[in-house]
Symmetry: C5
Subunit: 264 residues, 5 copies
C-alpha cells in the first residue's frame, strides 16, 4: 500500500471501477440478454461517465479499444484471468506483463488472488512480481481478493472476507476488491482488517436497482471506498442512470433511496 489519493483512479478518496473481463472469465453467456455489449466500445462509452474512475479490461481489449478512449477513460489493466472452460483447481493465468500494460497506457493494474486455492502460493509469487513491477511504473495495484478452492465452501463468510482484505494489505495491494460479506458489521470489520488500505465491494450478478444501491450504500457506510462493478451496470438497459445513482451513493454519500429518487 502506497498513497494513491492523487492517482487518476481515485476521486475524492473514492473509486468506482467498471469491469468488463466477463468475456474471458464467464464467456459469451454473460452477454445472452445484451448481445450488443459483445462490442467492447459500448462499455467504454459507458465508462466515460464521470462516476467511473477506471475501466478494468484484459490486455486484448485494452489494445484494441483503449486508444479511442484514452482521453476520457482511465485504464485498469487486469493482468490475470482464466476462462471458465478451465476445470482445474482455481487458478488464473498472467496474461499481460506490467511493462506492456504500462506501454498500452494503464493507469492501474488488477490481479486476482485465490487465497486457499492449491495455487495460492504460486499466485502470491506472481502477485509479488506484478506488484513490484507496478511500483517501478508508479501504478496502483488492485487485488481481486477471492478466497476459494479446496476446503473453502462459503466464500462470503465474514471471517473469509476480512481475511481477504487483510491479504491485500499484507501482500502489498493498494485496493482490495472483495465480495460483500452479507452485513454492514462484517463489511466494517473487513475494512478495519485492511488498515489504511482501500476496499471496494464487488458488484456481483445483476440485481434490482434498489437492492444493488442499498448494498453499495451499506458498504460505503461501513468504510468501503467504492465499488468494482460489471454486470450490474452494463447488463442494465440504462447504464447511465445507474451510474448517476451510484455517483450519489459513493461520492456524495447519499442514501440509496435518495439516489434512486434523484435519478429516476
Amino acid at each position: 500500500m502506497i498513497p494513491i489519493d492523487d492517482s487518476p483512479i481515485v476521486r475524492d478518496g473514492k473509486t468506482l471501477i467498471l469491469a468488463m473481463d466477463h468475456g474471458l472469465e464467464h464467456g459469451p453467456v454473460d452477454f445472452e440478454d445484451v448481445p450488443e455489449k459483445l462490442d467492447p466500445s459500448t462499455v467504454f462509452e459507458t465508462a466515460t461517465h464521470d462516476a467511473v474512475t477506471a475501466m478494468a479490461v484484459q490486455k486484448g481489449i485494452a489494445e484494441g479499444y483503449y486508444p479511442s478512449y484514452e482521453d476520457d477513460v482511465n485504464l485498469l489493466l487486469k493482468v490475470n484471468g482464466t476462462s471458465n472452460l478451465w476445470m482445474g483447481e482455481y487458478d488464473s493465468a498472467v496474461n499481460c506483463s506490467v511493462d506492456y500494460a504500462a506501454e498500452i497506457g494503464a493507469d492501474a493494474i488488477g490481479f486476482t488472488l485465490y487465497g486457499g486455492s492449491n495455487h495460492e502460493v504460486e499466485m502470491a509469487e506472481e502477485f509479488r512480481d506484478v506488484q513490484e513491477d507496478a511500483r517501478e511504473h508508479d501504478l496502483p495495484v488492485v487485488m481481486w481478493s477471492y478466497p476459494r478452492g479446496q476446503g473453502l465452501k462459503n466464500d462470503t463468510k465474514p471471517e473469509v472476507i476480512s481475511y481477504a482484505t487483510r491479504l491485500g494489505l499484507e501482500l502489498g495491494a493498494d485496493i482490495a476488491k472483495v465480495k460483500y460479506p452479507g452485513s454492514s458489521d462484517a463489511m466494517e470489520h473487513a475494512c478495519k482488517a485492511a488498515g489504511d488500505m482501500k476496499v471496494v465491494m464487488s458488484g456481483g450478478s445483476k440485481t434490482s436497482d434498489y437492492e444493488f444501491l442499498s448494498t453499495v450504500e451499506a458498504a460505503v457506510n461501513a468504510g468501503a471506498t467504492g465499488l468494482a462493478v460489471g454486470r450490474n451496470v452494463w447488463q442494465r438497459e440504462n447504464p447511465t442512470q445507474i451510474l448517476d445513482a451510484l455517483e450519489k451513493v459513493i461520492y456524495d454519500e447519499e442514501t440509496a433511496d435518495a439516489a434512486l429518487e434523484a435519478t429516476e
Copy 2:
C-alpha cells in the same frame, strides 16, 4: 488486437492462410494419398497463388524452404505444436522463439491455445510472452483457438466457438482461427463475440469442392474475414483450381456456385 489491415497477410481486409504443419501435428498419415506433398516445396509453390496471404509452417520447414520463396510467399510461423504421438492432456510445445521467427523472416506468428485443457493456464502464459514479443517485432498474431480437453466433448458447439473467438480478443490475438460452428447464425455470433478482431474459419479435413466452398461462403457472409486451410487445398489434385475458387468466394464475395462454375 492492433490494426493489421496494412499487414502483408491481409488483402482487402481478408486473409487466406495456407497451413502445412500436418507433418508435425498429424504425422505422415496425412500424406498417404499425396506422398509427393511430403516435399514442402510443393506446398510452397501452391502458396505463391495470389489468393494466399500467408503460409503457415513450423520452424524447421521455414528455415529450410522459405529462403527460396520469400519474394513470393508471406510467412506465418506457427511457433507451437505437438505430435499426435503425445498421449497427455492437450498441450502444445513452443518450438520457436519469436525473435528467431523474425530473423527467419516471419510476417506473422501463429499460436495454438487449448482453452479448457488442464494446460490452459500455462498455455495462456506462453501466449502472453509470444504475443508481447510479436508486438516488439510488429508482427500480427494468429491464435488457433481450439477449446478442448477434460470436460469438453463437442468442441464445435456454438457457445464453444463463440468463447474461442472471445478468448482471442481478450488475450490479444489479431486473428482467431476457429472451427466452423455448424451454422451461419452461430458463426455470426462467434464473429460478434470477437468484436473488431478478425476471425478465420479452419478448413478441416478434406471434403468435396462444393461442400467446402459453400461452408467458406457461409462463414464469410457471417462475418469471417477468411480461411486457414491445409488439407482441403494441398490434398487436392489441383490445388490451384480450388484456390481460384476460394479467391472468388473470399475476396470477391461470390457464391460457391458461381466460384465453382467460373473455375471449372
Copy 3:
C-alpha cells in the same frame, strides 16, 4: 552466518524481534480479542520501545506504515509467508524480493523454512537466493526454522529443535528463530548445534506474564540471544509493561521474578 553484532537489529549482542505477520499467517482470528490491533500503527508504536531491536512485517505493511516509523523502528522484512487458508503441504510464498525490501528500508530479512516438508528442497533453494541477495545488500538474515510436514508430528522435540538451529547455521542464516524445546537443557543443546550463530526463541501463543518471562529467562540462560515475539506482546493489554520486563530478562539477564517485580 556473518558478523552482525554491529547491525541495528542487535543490541549488546542480543535481539528482540517484535513480529506482526499474523494477519497473513493466521488471519483476523488472532485479533478477535484485540480488534484495535488490526491497525498496524498500534504495533509499530509498541515497537518504538527500546527493548525492540526490530519489527517483523510483510511487504504490504512495511510499505504502508514503515515510512512513519523509520526513525524509531528497525525493519525486519519477512519475505515469505502463506495464509492458513492454504490446505496443501507446508509451504510459504516468497512475497517480496530482497531488492524491494532494501528499497523500502529493511534492516534485515526474515524467511521461513519448513524442514521436513515436501517443499523443503524448493524452500531451501528459495532461501539460497534470498540469502545471497541479502548479502549483496549487507542485510542480516533471520530464519524462522520450523521443521514440520509429512512425518513430523511433534515439532518441538529436542532433537527437532537442535536440527532446526543447525539448518540455520549450515544454510547461511545469521539468526535462527525456533520454538522452545521444552527444557533448558534441550535449548542449550539447540544453541550449541548452532555454533556461533545466534538463536532466538519463538514467543508462541499468549501465556501468563510469569510463564512467558521464565521461559525467556531459561532460553537466555541456555544460550539464546533473545526472542522473536508477537502475540505475547501485542495481544496484551499493556505491551509496554511486558517489554520493560523482557528488556530486563534479555539484556540485563535478570530473573523473570526480578523483572516482573521491577515492572509491575
Copy 4:
C-alpha cells in the same frame, strides 16, 4: 534445417558419426566384453579414421579427451542424455549448454527427442533452445529422434520412423538419427518424410559384419545420408576394418559384399 554440406561433419554429402555415450546411457554393461574401451582414448583413436566425420560424446568426455584429438576428429557434442538407472517415463537431462559445447570446440550438437513420451512437450522446448543457440554458433544439430514412451510399443514400425524423421524436419534439426524401420521401402519413405533434411541410420546393438553392412547399404540406397554407430564399431575386435568397409558402402556406395571382400 540449414545447408550443412560445407560443415566438417559432412563429407561428400554423407556423414558417419561414431558415438560413444554408452557409458552414460547404458552404463558399464556395454563394456563387459571390451573393458579396454572404458578408456575413451581408444575410441577417439578409432575416430581418427577418415570415414568418421564426427565423434559423438557427452560433455565430460569431450572436456577430458577432445583436446588431444581436436586436429584429427570432429566433435559432435551430445548435449542431453540420461542413465538407465532412471526408472521414470522416457526423458533426457540437458547436460551441457550449447555455449559451453562451442567453447570446448564442438563442430555439431546432438540432442535426443522422445516423441510420444510424457516429456515430449518439455523436451521439444529444450530442443528449441538448443537449436536456436546452435544457430548462433553456426553449429549443425543432429536429432536422435526416438519415439517411445506411454502408448508406443514397437518403436521401429515404418510409420513411427517416418514420423521420427518428420519431427526432425519440422522442429529444425539438420540431421535426424533414426532406427532402421525394417525394410528398404520403409526407410525410403522415412527419408522422403524428411524432405531435404539428412537422415542417418542408427547402428544399434552389435551384429555380424555382413548383416550390419547390408543394412547400411539398404539404408543408403533408400536415401539415408549415412550412419551413426557405436557398438557395431567399437565393440568389434578390429574397428578399423569395419570402418574401411563402411567407408566403401557409405561414400562409394558399394555393396556390402564388395566392401567386405575388399577389406577382409
Copy 5:
C-alpha cells in the same frame, strides 16, 4: 574433467577431503558421542593437518568459519544437500551458487547426484549449471555420485559403483566420490570406468582403525586417488592420529599395518 593436478585440493596426485556437512545431511544425531564437534571450529582445526587437501562444508559454515582458516585450509564448498527430515524421493537442494562460493573463497565445488532417483534428470541439469559456472571460476568439481532411489536397493553393488564413477566422467566432474564397492577388484573396475578422472572413496560410518585403513589401502591400490572422509576422522578421539596414518596410506602408499604401527 580438466587437469587438476596443480589445484590446491590435490597433493602429489592424491586427495584427502575432510567432510563436515553431517549437521545438514544427518542432523545432530551424528554428534551424540562427540558433542564438542558441534562447534565447526574443532573440525577446521583438524583440517589444518597436512594430509587434508580440502575441507567440505555447506555455505553457512564456510561463511562463518572459513575466514579464520583460509590460510591453512582449502575450502571445498558443497553446494547442494538436504536434511534427513526430507521424506520425499532422494533429492538435494542447491543451497549455494557457484558465484557466491567463489566469493567466499572456495577452492573447489562439491555436488551430490543421485543417479536413479526420480529427481535424476533435474539434478543432472542442476549439475550442468554448477559445473559450467565452476569452469568460469576455474574451480574443480567433485561429484558425490550416489545412485539411489526407486528401484535401487543395494547401492554398493560393483556395477552400481562403476556406473557411479562413469556418470562423473560423462557429466564433467573432476573427481567422483563413491562408496567402496566391497572388493579391490570392483574398486579397480570402478576406477577404470572413470577413465582419467580421479576417484575418491567415501569414508562412511565409523569403523575400527584397522578396518578403515585397510579399506583405504585397498582402494588406493585399486586406483583410487584418495578419500573423502568425515565421521571416521572427526568422530574419533584423536583425529590427528588417524590423519597421520591416512597420510602414510594415501600419499606414501604404505600398508595399513605399517601406517598403524608408525602412528600408534
